[in-house]
């Protein structure tokens, strides 16, 4: 297939946010699949309570511009701005503090939804990492998902953008899964694949991102219908080789999107490309070691769980039930899943 994957780069300043958002979306024909849809979820990156000018969170003006554009083209939509609680505060507090509640008050069809408090169901995922996933009903029954990520460095994974924004959909003990990030993001993005992706690169974050880095003005908005393509361009813009970002590869392999055959439209890469500071490599490797240990300890915990299950089986508590109903291949699958997978 020779069709190019479109990624737009649009320059944006404080005075031209709305114009830039409209252009970024139009260039990739971003609303082409919205006909007949009733509900749209917009997911900004609100991983903390610092304002967008700190480089940590998505600029609410971009989200408002998307709302305005949606409302002018599809006036009957119900729009949810969705986020889950972060390590600092509840999503409700974060919405209020960062100006998202004001958007919801301004537009009657817009509602801020704290996913951590939403009614949830458990979905049998059988993913690379998650065997089950806790899914908020607002997302499950939403018709169109727009991810509005923030352009940032990430101390552990080099880069944070659209794919990493999906980490906010994980509603259980997020901090425990950092060591398993690559597989977690592949699963999350395969399930919650955004229909349209935007990256807020107006004021981005470099250094020790994604929460404690330093603001850096890049002045761009990146848009694509393909999350892998958007992140490939996003990483390149801040001078990070996409091949270094392992979760990008994993997600691509999983069919979430493509990093090849990308056509950049709007601005040229050379016009906007910059070089972000990254933390000294020795600190990066310390972080990686910590994550490897976390991953190893998770495997140990799963192995311990398997041993415990085996003990129960051997002591005949429930084993007779299981052995009658499962074939050997199913039992092997159960063992494999117990060691390698977790509930999300």
């Amino acid at each position: 297939m020779n069709e190019k994957t479109l990624v737009s780069i649009t320059k944006a300043t404080d005075d031209s946010v709305e114009e830039a958002v409209n252009k970024a979306i139009d260039l990739v024909n971003g609303f082409s699949n919205l006909n007949g849809k009733k509900t749209v979820c917009i997911k900004p990156n609100l991983c903390g309570i610092k304002s967008s000018t700190s480089g940590q969170t998505t600029d609410p003006r971009i989200v408002e511009a998307i709302v305005q554009k949606l409302n002018s083209a599809f006036p009957n939509l119900k729009i949810f701005i969705v986020e889950s609680n972060n390590s600092r505060a509840t999503a409700d507090y974060t919405f209020k503090r960062l100006g998202y509640t004001d958007i919801a008050q301004k537009y009657p069809n817009v509602e801020c939804k704290n996913l951590s408090e939403d009614k949830k169901v458990k979905i049998t995922l059988n993913g690379q990492l998650f065997s089950n996933l806790l899914v908020p009903e607002t997302l499950l029954f939403s018709d169109y998902l727009i991810s509005v990520a923030k352009l940032k460095t990430h101390m552990d994974f080099y880069y944070s953008g659209v794919l990493k924004n999906a980490y906010g959909f994980l509603l259980t003990h997020r901090a425990n899964y950092h060591g398993l990030m690559n597989r977690a993001l592949a699963d999350l993005n395969a399930f919650y694949k955004p229909d349209l992706c935007l990256i807020d690169g107006m004021i981005a974050m470099d250094g020790p991102g994604p929460t404690d880095g330093f603001p850096k003005t890049v002045g761009v908005i990146i848009a694509s219908k393909d999350p892998v393509a958007a992140d490939t361009v996003g990483a390149t813009v801040i001078g990070i080789k996409p091949s270094k970002v392992k979760y990008l590869k994993k997600a691509e392999k999983r069919g979430v999107g493509t990093s090849k055959n990308i056509e950049i439209i709007g601005c040229k890469m050379e016009e906007v490309q910059t070089k972000f500071e990254f933390i000294p490599m020795k600190y990066y490797y310390i972080g990686r070691l910590s994550l490897s240990l976390q991953s190893f300890s998770r495997k140990c915990a799963n192995f311990a769980k398997l041993l415990s299950m085996t003990r129960s089986g051997l002591s005949m508590v429930g084993f007779s039930k299981v052995s009658r109903r499962l074939s050997y291949s199913e039992l092997l699958e159960m063992v494999r899943n117990t060691i390698s997978k977790i509930d999300g």
Binding site: V121, K122, T124, N132, L134, F141, S142, F191, K321
Partner: protein
């Protein structure tokens, strides 16, 4: 916490598998008496479950003042007599399904429970399955649009159980009236609960087991007042492998925007809406309410019985209407009887 003294009349399979264990383990109840015409069997059960009072005559049990509530698990043809006798003495009743043999008897029951102001419910345990509760909620919230087609099926061994002597199959089958009456009524109840009032029905029936004189396989088709069409497939066939036969016990509802498919023995359901995230997922999305761990069908069934009994006790303690009402049970019986009428007359029966 108030504890209800409970008795059970009729100590056959359903009492032993569903009622006795759940009263014994529920802190809201104290199982104080068991009653069955088989004296030896009831004595053995009393001993096994540490129940002090054994009866072979339900009138004596009801007169003993030992119980405030009772589970009626006798064959359906005795429901009317036993339930009205209990109600007249002010005893609350959980009656096994179907409510009665015919509408006249069902109305006698409803009159008695209303006059004596006792709580009355019927054992449609599947309504307590978490997946079916979720299915109803999704239907009501329009998650699959307007319901158009529905199908419910179940294959259950009914009277053809390995532990029953094969020479007694005919007698056992007759006790149960027929597979549509005995097993299909669960699905009729679910269909009405999910889709509303039926307006017309027709049915075909058959008997595959030689010598048995009632239906042991049946298909009924129902039109509902909201325009939805439903079919119910039911048969008494012993296929004990739950995994291999999971497709035989499904409720499936197709709406204008998607479909819901649920295992009649829970706890998961699959939902698809042509626009939403569910439409992008490859294959089926199996959903379980967040507070449930995936369970085996047998575990889900056990759960439904425990919730049924808990809700009955709760309705007494909190003076609430039970989730399954006598009127609803009468409606599911009416639908099943109309199906038999249709088969007899070889024509569609309109339900006014």
């Amino acid at each position: 916490m108030k504890v209800i003294n409970v008795g059970i009349v009729g100590c056959g399979q359903i009492a032993q598998e569903a009622h006795i264990p759940n009263y014994v383990t529920n802190p809201k109840a104290k199982l104080t008496a068991l009653c069955d015409v088989e004296e030896q069997a009831v004595r053995a059960l009393c001993e096994k479950n540490n129940v002090k009072n054994c009866f072979t005559n339900y009138e004596e049990l009801f007169d003993s003042n030992l119980v405030e509530a009772v589970s009626v698990c006798v064959p359906t043809r005795y429901h009317s007599k036993v339930v009205t006798a209990a109600a007249k003495r002010g005893i609350h009743v959980l009656c096994e399904k179907p409510i009665a043999l015919n509408i006249k008897e069902a109305e006698e029951i409803l009159d008695a429970v209303a006059k004596n102001n006792v709580k009355f419910t019927v054992g449609y345990n599947r309504r307590f399955l978490p997946n079916l509760i979720l299915a109803k909620e999704y239907l009501q919230n329009g998650k699959i649009g307007k319901p158009v087609l529905a199908r419910a099926s179940t294959v259950t061994m009914g009277p053809y159980q390995p532990q029953i002597d094969i020479s007694k199959y005919k007698e056992e089958a007759q006790k149960r009236v027929g597979c549509l009456f005995d097993s299909g009524v669960h699905l009729a109840d679910l269909m009405i609960w999910l889709l509303g009032k039926p307006s017309e029905v027709n049915a075909i029936m058959s008997t595959y087991f030689e010598g048995v004189t009632v239906d042991d396989s049946a298909i009924m088709q129902v039109k509902f007042e909201n325009g939805a069409l439903g079919s119910i497939h039911v048969s008494w066939i012993d296929l004990p492998n739950f995994k291999a036969t999971e497709n035989t016990r499904r409720v499936e509802i197709i709406g204008t925007h998607g479909l819901i498919e649920a295992d009649c023995l829970g706890p998961s359901l699959s939902v698809y809406n042509r626009n939403s995230l569910t439409s992008k997922i490859k294959g089926k999305t199996w959903i379980t309410p967040a507070n449930f761990d995936p369970m085996l069908p047998q575990e889900a069934l056990a759960w439904s019985f425990s919730k049924e009994i808990d809700s009955f006790l709760d309705s007494i303690i909190r003076n609430r209407t039970p989730p399954v009402t006598g009127e609803q049970a009468k409606e599911s019986l009416r639908l099943i009887l109309a199906a038999y009428e249709s088969y007899k007359r070889k024509e569609t029966v309109l339900m006014g």
